[in-house]
């Protein structure tokens, strides 16, 4: 597979944004203090999943 150039990555990022600059589609949210990275449609869904995993750890 051809490695993406910085320009390709920038274009990918722009493609994920609406004309207003808001990101479209799922995004990844990082919770470094919990060791979690959650990809979800919304921050609320990501927060809920992170909380569920932490609760399951006990």
């Amino acid at each position: 597979m051809t490695k993406k150039t910085p320009f390709d990555r920038l274009k990918d990022d722009m493609d994920r944004r609406s004309p207003s600059g808001e990101k479209k589609g799922p995004q990844e949210w990082h919770y470094p203090e919990l060791g979690l990275r959650v990809t979800a449609e919304s921050k609320e869904a990501a927060d809920a999943r992170a909380a569920e995993i932490v609760a399951a750890r006990g």
């Binding site: 589609g25 799922p26 919990l34 060791g35 979690l36 990275r37 959650v38 990809t39 979800a40 449609e41 919304s42 869904a45 990501a46 809920a48 999943r49 992170a50 569920e52 995993i53 609760a55 399951a56 750890r57």
Partner: protein, 138 residues
């Protein structure tokens, strides 16, 4: 094994076939006539055993609030979604099949065996997914 992950899906993961957060993933209910066969590939392979009942639409329900989580504390990753509910339904089901409805062939992902028939009678039929998620890769 009465529940499991389909072999073709395991291969698909290695071939970058699915994007489970972006794709439409469906949850369908099956009668006790179904059985888990890891060699099945597509929804059409098992859909003949789909349930019918009040409050249930053929093809199943769309999984909401999908997430893919990388857990660097426990060294694992999971796929999860909101609990799936058929409201005001009258259903008898033994299995739940999860499949990728965006895939051209509606690729099967996994099958869950409830262990016995589960029913709703003019009420909610809810699948409460495990806290570890629908799929857990360790």
């Amino acid at each position: 094994m009465a529940s499991g992950v389909y072999n073709e899906f395991k291969g698909d993961v290695l071939k970058k076939v699915h994007d489970l957060v972006n794709d439409t993933v469906k949850v369908a209910l099956l009668t006790s006539s179904a059985a888990f066969d890891a060699d099945n590939d597509n929804w059409a392979d098992i859909s003949s055993n789909e349930v019918s009942g009040t409050g249930y639409s053929a093809g199943g329900a769309t999984l909401g609030s999908k997430t893919v989580t990388v857990d660097n504390t426990n060294d694992r990753a999971s796929f999860d979604g909101a609990d799936t509910t058929w409201s005001t339904s009258t259903i008898t089901a033994r299995f739940a099949a999860v499949y990728d409805d965006t895939h051209a062939s509606d690729r099967l992902i996994c099958l869950f065996d409830f262990g016995s028939n589960q029913t709703s009678s003019n009420g909610d039929f809810t699948i409460a997914w495990h806290a570890n998620g629908i799929l857990l890769l360790t």
